[in-house]
Amino acid sequence: MTTPEFSLAELMTVAASHAFDHDGEVLATGIGVLPRLAASLAMLTSNPDLMMTDSQSYVLSKPNPISGFAGHAGQANECWMGFSRIFDNVWSSKRHAMVGPSQIDRFGQANISALGGTYQSPKVQLLGVRGFPGNSISHANSFFVPKHSNRVFVAGECDVVASIGYNPARLPKGYSVDEVDLRLIITDLCVMDFGGPDHQMRIVSLHPGVTEQEVRDNTGFELAIVDNVPTTAAPTTAQLAIMAELDPKNIRARQIKDNPPGIRPPAEESIA
């Protein structure tokens, strides 16, 4: 049996899809190309009970393609779900979002609001906190990081804490960190969770050819690691076929810089 060729983006997408495996009947929201592809892949493989929207105003019983999609007419609508109703869903906890923050700190707090400077005059204004505060206290969240670096996994706290994490110092009266539900972090180097001591971020698998040290060198804080850390599972032929069907224009190839292969060639290993 030959191993199919696959890209790092496809490896990451399959790893990300597993975040939704055991969710049951929740709304899966992947923000960005690969998280959306991952949620769609999960709905078509490991968890057919997932719910998904058309990113506009309907819940679908079958995910739309993420590229080469001519228009919303004829899609598999299940019910109307405008943005106001999204919040009814969010606050009911029946949702799992996968998002791509600009910064993540050791508590799992995340930032998409602004970078540097002062709050009155940030060096870089990003999007704003968007739905991060409400998502993070209401339902499960996972993170997708296309470039694992110290700039994303910052040494201190995030410049703006847009989402709540496992930081007891920020909890108001009556709350416990156990009410926060952070799941997986998928990066271009590894998969992590918050399963270390006191919800410490923990390496759970390394992508083919990536070393533990490389992950540590690119992370601004200490990480736990599982015993006998495995290699992230390669996509199956079936998973690759479904991703190709969901993304006929192959926009997944443009999401990770230079679209590297899923298994690093030996030359790069020595550089690492």
Binding site: S57, G71, S84, F87, L127, G128, G134
Partner: protein, 316 residues
């Protein structure tokens, strides 16, 4: 004996429901953009419907840009509406969860205003904004929620308080009512009495903006007869009652460069032109040359109403 009911009812009922018989008229809320915008004065808090680059009442924003109004507080799920008002120096404070054009994640006018420290902000969660509008609509001072706890939404907004609950031992965030002096909304069709339909796939939070405001101005693509809404399918596209709307403005193509599904999509190229003006510090030229002195000038400058209607609908 004739049936009294039959002989009495039909004609007389028609008479007593006929306003001409009583010398009264139904309200006519249709105004010019300039007359409508005259309701907005310096220092007011305005709410703007729509979402990012989608279904923004841009013709009303352009009319504001042509006016002398300043020192506004703006509440919005923001796009170029917020960005252009910031670029024109009309904004004191923005209450926002995001300001974005989706395909262009960072809205240029807003970004420049933030990074130069020119504006005050109240940065809140998207859902907190919804709760604040609902509180204003319902006439309550706040709505309790867990949304925002543990984040910088609390730390950066001293006006947002945590409170004790009479029913449990937890702290709750008390999202204050976001009372609006004026709401600006982009609809599809309106009748002269202010019945407004939104035929787009989503009316977003526009019903709450309308209800949170003391005065609601609705821009539409066309005026229809009241009987248009007799069709139950059309009546289902009306998300607030006419008593909530005080002013109706007819501005065909007026959501441009944002979308007004199903009439037209958003104009990526035009957003690019606007972004370039902001980047080069020439927003004044955009204001005078593109926005011009009237909405007719603007529609001409962007190639006419047919060019707007030719913009394809977004696919997500």
């Amino acid at each position: 004996m004739e049936d009294e009911g039959q002989s009495f009812a039909p004609d007389t009922l028609r008479l007593i429901t006929n306003n001409e018989y009583w010398g009264t008229k139904t309200m006519d809320k249709v105004q010019t953009p300039a007359d409508a915008i005259a309701a907005i004065r310096d220092g007011m808090t305005i709410g703007i419907g729509g979402w990012g680059p989608r279904r923004k009442p841009m013709a009303l924003i352009r009319e504001l840009l042509r006016s002398d109004v300043k020192e506004l507080t703006v509440v919005a799920y923001g796009g170029a509406d917020v960005g252009m008002l910031c670029a024109a120096g009309k904004v004191k404070k923005v209450i926002f969860a995001f300001v974005s054009l989706d395909f262009m994640p960072l809205e240029p006018g807003f970004r420049a205003a933030r990074e130069s420290g020119a504006i005050d902000v109240m940065e809140i969660d998207e859902g907190l904004m919804l709760l604040g509008l609902r509180a204003a609509a319902w006439g309550v001072p706040f709505i309790p929620t867990a949304v925002g706890i543990g984040t910088d939404v609390v730390n950066h907004n001293p006006d947002i308080k945590l409170i004790d609950s009479p029913y449990d031992d937890k702290a709750w965030l008390a999202m204050p009512a976001l009372k609006l002096d004026v709401a600006l909304i982009q609809a599809s069709h309106c009748d002269r009495r202010g019945v407004c339909s939104i035929e787009s796939p989503d009316h977003y939070m526009d019903d709450w903006f309308a209800r949170a405001a003391a005065h609601t101005i609705v821009a539409c693509e066309s005026i229809v007869e009241g009987s248009y809404f007799n069709d139950p399918e059309k009546a289902r596209q009306v998300f607030w009652e006419r008593a909530v709307t005080q002013s109706v403005v007819v501005t065909p193509g007026g959501a441009h460069p944002s979308s007004n599904d199903p009439s037209y999509g958003f104009d990526v190229a035009h957003f690019g032109v606007y972004a370039k003006h902001v980047a080069e510090g020439t927003f004044d030229a955009y204001r005078t040359q593109v926005i011009g002195d009237s909405e007719a000038d603007y529609i001409d400058a962007v190639g006419g109403i047919d060019a707007i209607h030719a913009l394809s609908l977004p696919v997500y």
